[in-house]
């Protein structure tokens, strides 16, 4: 294979993953809303509603607060760009993504964190009380979720001797008994808690409310309108899909393409879509039956996630 073909293949794989996650992420949000509505006895908006909303937002006029500086303008772009970079190099549909050797779990977490921090800065930029409140809450939760996530990654990395994500997924395929090991299960349990916190789902934040006392994420994006808001929603749905995709690929890696080739890659994309949709439906069902935690009880939940991850790391060390 010549160098050119290799580069073209890598670009194709990365592009396919980004497009699937971008479109699929919006559809995932639609599916989750639909499931919730149905379980609550409503018909609910059609599944493709988030896509239509996004198209509408992008055709709207660009409106920004007068006081907004470049930080406000850059935040949504940074959010989407970081999500795209991570999606391109993550083992979502194949265990051989382009630049796979740089897809270190720790690096991915920090690139995603860059997106969250830029959004928080963008919300602070205009100086409105809501933006500041939302940012401070989001950063508090982020600061509590981050150590738990890092310890969870440590727990998964110890038995595999690497924190490289494609290798972790590949080892799950090659040695299925590694998935059932307690350290993996504990780490993934804590990963679920962290995903719920980071993507603002129900026990931590209610994505459907605009009640000023409780909202976290909605408070941050209150000042955004038009195409900027479109970028924020796109970035958030991509991040949710990415995190769920990583979770399902670490938990049930079957279906992910383990060798190069167009057919297995397409199968991998299909398997990813199916698994993420199932995970989304599970979360939406859980959300119907659970209420939002008081803000001061959220640290309790995240401390639980942290301890699960810590126990996973200790077990991994005990067994080694």
């Amino acid at each position: 294979m010549t160098g050119f073909e290799e580069v073209a293949g890598a670009v194709l794989v990365a592009g396919a993953q980004i497009v699937t996650v971008a479109v699929g992420g919006l559809l995932l949000v639609g599916v989750m809303r639909k499931v919730r509505s149905r379980l609550e006895g409503r018909i609910g908006p059609p599944v493709r509603q988030p896509l239509l909303d996004l198209r509408k937002l992008f055709t709207k006029q660009r409106m920004r607060p007068e006081e907004a500086s470049w930080v406000f303008v850059a935040a949504p772009v940074v959010l989407v760009a970081t999500a795209m970079v991570v999606v391109a190099i993550s083992p979502l549909a194949t265990t051989r993504p382009p630049l796979g050797q740089s897809a270190d779990f720790f690096a991915i977490v920090f690139v995603l964190l860059l997106g969250s921090v830029s959004l928080a800065l963008g919300a602070l930029d205009t100086g409105t009380p809501f933006g500041g409140m939302g940012s401070s809450r989001a950063m508090t939760i982020g600061a509590l979720a981050e150590p738990a996530l890092l310890v969870a990654i440590l727990a998964m990395s110890i038995p595999a001797h690497t924190s490289n994500l494609p290798v972790l997924v590949h080892m799950g395929l090659a040695h299925p008994q590694m998935i059932a090991s307690p350290e993996r299960i504990l780490a993934l349990g804590s990963f679920v808690v962290i995903i719920l916190a980071e993507s603002g789902r129900l026990p931590v934040d209610n994505p459907n409310t605009h009640l000023e006392l409780t909202m976290i994420h909605e408070a941050m994006v209150l000042e955004y309108a038009g195409p900027d808001l479109g970028l924020v929603t796109l970035g958030e749905s991509m991040r949710l899909t990415l995190l769920l995709g990583l979770l399902v690929n670490l938990l049930v890696p079957w279906g992910v393409a383990d060798r190069s080739g167009a057919v297995s890659f397409v199968i991998g994309l299909g398997a990813l879509a199916g698994k993420v949709a199932l995970a989304g439906i599970a979360i939406a069902t859980f959300e119907v039956f659970s209420g939002k935690l008081r803000l001061f009880r959220v640290p309790e939940l995240l401390a639980g996630g942290f301890v699960l991850a810590m126990l996973g790391a200790v077990t991994a060390m005990v067994v080694r």
């Binding site: 008994q177 059932a180 090991s181 307690p182 350290e183 299960i185 504990l186 640290p299 309790e300 995240l302 401390a303 639980g304 942290f306 301890v307 699960l308 810590m310 126990l311 200790v314 077990t315 060390m317 005990v318 067994v319």
Partner: protein, 219 residues
Amino acid sequence: MNGPAYASTLELMSGVILVCAVVTLWRRSLSAVVKALAVQGFALGAVALILGIRQHDAVLIVVACLVMASKGAVIPTLLGRVVTSSPTGREASPIVNVPASLVGAAALTFLAYGATQPVVALIPTTAGRFVPLGFATLLIGFFSMVVRRKAVSQIVGLLLVDNGIALVAFLATAGVPLLVELGASLDVLLAVVVLRVLAAQMWSEFGVLDLDQLRELRD
């Protein structure tokens, strides 16, 4: 049972025991705590069962069934009755708050891991590697007895200590003699029955199960 499957099931069950110990600190609802204790009792029985099958030891299998029956079913049922009889079945204000006690549990797990290194080095078997998990359960049980106020929570702490000791005993030795295990199990069962009667008495006399409020003698 072949080598890797034996080791990983044993590891999984020991892990479940430790996680149940942490769940008792995590959850405030006492009925959830009692459920976690029941799961822990079954996991403890499963550890004995796996060891018994592995070593073709009929006595150990009998012990496993006894452990499952007493620690998985009888004791949690007794505790469950105490919980349902009191309307405020929640650990509302523990002495150390929940996030701090969870971090404390993590620290105790590390302590157990570090402190048992010499013990682990003494035991040549695969099972011996999981001894730190038993010690961690024991320490978390002590911790739970110190920081919780409700009578039920303290009984749960005592049972955690007992389960931790039993796990270490199963893993470190090639099975405890039936008589010793029977004695220990009956001892704990008796303690729970006594505490159950005591809790019922407390409830009818004072209307609380909060041990901190029982500071002075009453006529």
